[in-house]
Symmetry: C2
Subunit: 281 residues, 2 copies
């Protein structure tokens, strides 16, 4: 038993050594790095810093490109993750108001006609939450720890709260953001009947959040994770609309909202001037 | 450099040995098993079988409980994962037609009033996709390999296709399942105006799937993963409705549908008699 464990570990040393050597010879993108790289670092204690440094070097060699629109909630979700991780990126503007997302040039990049699109070398990803999870996993050892995967229980709980955002919070919150924030900004008329039908749905979700946040600092536990971050884009817009009252009337939800919207990375994600300041197209 | 790698690996051996010893002394649930357990097995070659066996023993000690309804698409999604992994479970029926999901007893279990609810010891999870991901991760080394996480690129691609299911496919597909399958089954009237508005939305998604499946056996690559599995519940119901034509008119989508719906695990997930045969409440 002890002997087989030792043999196995020696094999592991050989695999790891070989992998690192191979990668130091090649120019690779994050997408080519074995998922074992950062995980291996998490298992070691003494050389952790050096190990992380090596993974980072592999994972962010060629920079990231993000096609998006700085007012788009889905674009901001990914920007928040990039800033939490302290990663640089090249922004490429897709003007949603001008309908650029429906033009052939953009549709060839994402046939769904949606921003953001994220490029990491030859890997192209769409869907803001998938991109966020990808970045948080590849760079798990850098910047804010957005994934709490120390135990299966922590992993399961966080995955559940990420899905609650996607399937329970986002549907009513996105409708309210569109009707009360986006439409007025671009000169379209708000559908107040829809607003009145949707607010009670959001209230039911927030009642459950209020209970959860009585006993937990953040949704998935005592630290800020992707589960909280995913909520930021809609909440930020809704706090400038009458729907704000649904959040501030619930004391624990309110504390949570103040805490997560105050994060420096989030402020940077909402900085429209900074996006255009980086303009390259 | 070589020396620090060796020290790191020795530390890993010590951590692993200590962890396994600790766990063999305790009665633990899957939720308590460190995420490193199965991952460690994936890194070793020679003792892999023994290592997997040990992880499995830790991870499924006390059995799983699932509150659900055997006709519910979301319940079936989780059952499919359990059967793909060859895991046993105790089904507890929540009769959705009788409205049991809105009664206080069930709401105390899941305040959203939704099935399924999954219990693994003292860990309670809701949201079918979160439960599926949890089971597939904890039991990654058992049964069908539902996660392809061999590289960051594979992981990112699969995460993207899982999100495409959630945000692009599921919204129109769920509406059509409800209107054309669920409502007629429980004696409610189909809203054909809604059906006519929704089918073109599903068609747009299926056009993109058709292109993808020209070059890829499954959505996330050449093997069946959670990204395919997540589609099964809606597709199964829609293949018994007029919407079936949208799938069979697209040759690559059709091949994919035939392939994924024929999986033995999926047949078991749809076996309503088997669910009630296991009835324990």
């Amino acid at each position: 038993m002890g002997s087989s464990r030792f043999t196995a570990s020696l094999t592991l040393v050989v695999i790891m050594t070989f992998s690192y050597k191979s990668f130091s010879w090649m120019g690779v993108n994050a997408s080519d790095v074995p998922t074992s790289c950062n995980h291996y670092c998490n298992q070691t204690l003494e050389s952790r810093h050096q190990c992380y440094k090596r993974c980072e070097k592999l994972a962010h060699k060629n920079g990231y490109k993000i096609y998006g629109y700085p007012y788009s909630p889905n674009t901001r979700r990914v920007l928040a993750v990039l800033h939490e991780k302290g990663l640089s990126y090249d922004p490429i503007t897709v003007d949603l108001v001008a309908g650029e997302q429906k033009k052939p040039q953009f549709l060839s990049l994402n046939p769904f006609g949606l921003v953001p699109v994220f490029l990491d070398g030859n890997l192209k990803l769409t869907e803001s939450r998938a991109i966020s999870e990808y970045i948080a996993t590849v760079h798990r050892s850098r910047g804010s720890q957005l994934l709490n995967h120390n135990s299966c229980k922590a992993m399961g709980t966080q995955t559940m709260w990420r899905n609650i955002e996607s399937f329970e919070f986002d549907p009513p919150a996105s409708i309210l953001t569109m009707e009360l924030s986006t439409k007025p900004r671009i000169g379209l008329k708000t559908d107040y009947k829809l607003v009145n039908e949707t607010e009670p749905k959001l209230e039911k979700v927030l009642d459950i959040y209020e209970e959860r946040l009585k006993n937990s600092r953040y949704l998935a536990g005592d630290s800020f994770t992707l589960a909280d971050l995913y909520h930021l884009p809609n909440i930020q817009y809704l706090m400038d609309t009458p729907t704000k009252r649904l959040f501030i009337n619930r004391p624990n939800v309110h504390i949570w909202v103040v805490k997560i919207t105050a994060r420096p990375a989030w402020k940077k994600a909402c900085d429209v001037k900074a996006w255009y300041g980086k303009k390259r197209n």
